[in-house]
């Protein structure tokens, strides 16, 4: 009998998040040929996103479009999703391991009496068994897990699994619009949202991360790092030392406490390389270290090191990247 796979799509800043396509690819790996895929997408004025999704999905797309869904509220979102899951009777539900995915997944798992494997970075199928790889201790070790009992809930870490390709040739998405009915009563209300990240590249999804440590000296010290990140369309991160010293927001912290990032290029500026920080970035493809201290442990794991003052080196790099970009765009 064919099984039902459900993906909870995620919309942020009016765009479909890349991790939704990565979750879709994960389902394509996990599922058998005759299993069914349903995507659930919630938001406000999301017809362009539905249009985009329909190029990727051979299956159903359940659309709930309402002004109440413009901002994420766990109670409202969960009530809507719960109603749909009752009909879809899922074998597995896949979400991104993002702020809203991390919040919704355990609610869904508890509701379905299901196991959950969180923060998955790789999926493979061996002898009809699906094996999920995930980090422990922020990446100091890895484990492979499997489900012993269904149903299943899985969250996918952004930036690790190749995003699904458009499926235009065979795509036969069936779009189902669902009427939104608000929950009868709410125990939590979102009163206010301050968007500090609008238009910026999300740290965990960034291809390039420029990160600052104690060496940036104060909050102004992050400016050259921000300029470099902007030129490279990357995001700015920080070490615990920089956050604890109050140079920047904890939202930027990378490490075992904080976020784990796996960009193509990680540029560590004025970061010594404490074990707790390295756990959060050592799976980056290329690591560049800039530090005044030639003995800093960060050089032991860096692919390229520049020994020097970050306030001189970072602006020089910004100029060099600008030149390279100008040439790439207009050779």
């Amino acid at each position: 009998m064919s099984k039902s796979y459900v993906i909870i799509a995620e919309v942020r800043d009016g765009k479909l998040r890349q991790v939704t396509l990565e979750a879709l690819e994960s389902v394509r790996i996990a599922k058998e040929d005759d299993d069914l895929i349903s995507v659930i997408v919630l938001g406000h004025q999301i017809s362009p996103i539905v249009e985009q999704l329909s190029q990727y999905v051979s299956g159903q797309i359940h659309v709930i479009d309402h002004v109440d869904l413009e901002t994420y509220n766990s109670e409202i979102y969960f009530t809507v999703i719960k109603g749909l899951l009752d009909n879809l009777n899922p074998h597995a539900v896949f979400l991104g391991h993002s702020a809203s995915g991390r919040d919704l997944a355990p609610m869904i798992a508890a509701y379905l009496n299901a196991g959950q494997i969180s923060d998955v970075i790789a999926i493979e199928k061996a002898n009809a068994e699906v094996i999920y790889t995930r980090p422990l201790y922020a990446g100091k070790a890895f484990e492979q897990k499997k489900f012993t009992d269904g149903p299943q809930v899985v969250t996918i870490r952004p930036n690790n699994i190749t995003a699904a390709n458009a499926d235009t040739a065979s795509s036969q998405a069936e779009i189902i619009t669902i009427y939104y009915s608000p929950p009868p009563s709410l125990r939590s209300i979102v009163k206010d949202v301050i968007r500090k990240t609008s238009g910026k590249v999300d740290l965990t999804e960034a291809k390039i991360v420029v990160s600052g440590g104690r060496g940036v000296k104060n909050s102004d010290g992050f400016k050259p790092l921000q300029e470099l990140a902007e030129v490279l369309n990357g995001a700015v991160g920080a070490s615990r030392a920089a956050c604890d010293a109050g140079y920047c927001d904890y939202a930027l912290q990378i490490g075992q406490t904080g976020k784990v990032v796996t960009p193509e290029i990680y540029i560590a500026c004025g970061i010594s390389g404490a074990i707790q920080h390295v756990a959060g970035m050592s799976q980056s493809r290329i690591i560049i270290a800039i530090n005044k201290d030639p003995e800093a442990p960060i050089f032991k794991i860096a692919d390229y090191g520049i020994v020097g003052d970050l306030f001189i080196v970072v602006p020089l790099l910004t100029e060099e990247f600008k030149k390279a970009l100008a040439y790439t765009n207009n050779p």
């Binding site: 196991g115 959950q116 923060d119 201790y137 965990t204």
Partner: protein, 257 residues
Amino acid sequence: MNIYVILKQTFDTEEKVAILEGDISEDGVKFIINPYDEYAVEEALRLKEQHGGKVIVISVGPNRTAEALKTALAMGVDEAVLISDNQISVDEFSISKILAAYLDKQSYDLILGGNFSIDNGGGQVAIRLSQLLNVPHVASITKIDVTEDDHAVVQRDSEGDIETLIVTLPALFTAQQGLNEPRYPTLPGIMKAKKKPFHQLTLDDLGLSMTEIRAKTERHSLFLPPKRKAGQILQGELTEQASKLVHLLQDADGMII
């Protein structure tokens, strides 16, 4: 006000991880209260200082967890509960079921926990628990105020955006960095902790059977990441080094910049 804090004991963040006989080695490892749970303990103590009441820490884990619970008692927590059972082979599903079985019989205004544990990092137990107890939750909070009319006004960190929510109590919240700066236990605190109630329970005490809490997931294998090798330290004037680096990224690493 009755506040329960759910807590896990974890490796210190500066510990390296080694594998011994197919499991993570605990030899010589220093253990701490999971840092995010420590924020929760601190916030519970501050709320008690403002509003009065009682703070109780609860953990499901091996016997060594008692040490973390005693630290919380020394910080000022009133009581500790450790649910320990050698026959437990568990995952997040099981732990949340065990905690729910205990808390279902207690009266509480607030349940606090950490955003995630720094060892397993699943980030499931607290939110699962809120569902099982049918109380609202807000994850990853950086500020909480409890009002006179049994509401909490909280700020939540949502990937850098700040959301303000009003929540009806009882409710569950998970702590994010920035919520507070946890206190250290004092010597008088450590002395007092020895006399505070410490309840040790087993699954039988909770009336739970193994079938009810059997894990839904299992580990298939465990491995360490390949060690990164030191690369090259660039030489020459800093201007040359900067230019060399960009060319290396383009030529040797094939980066499109």
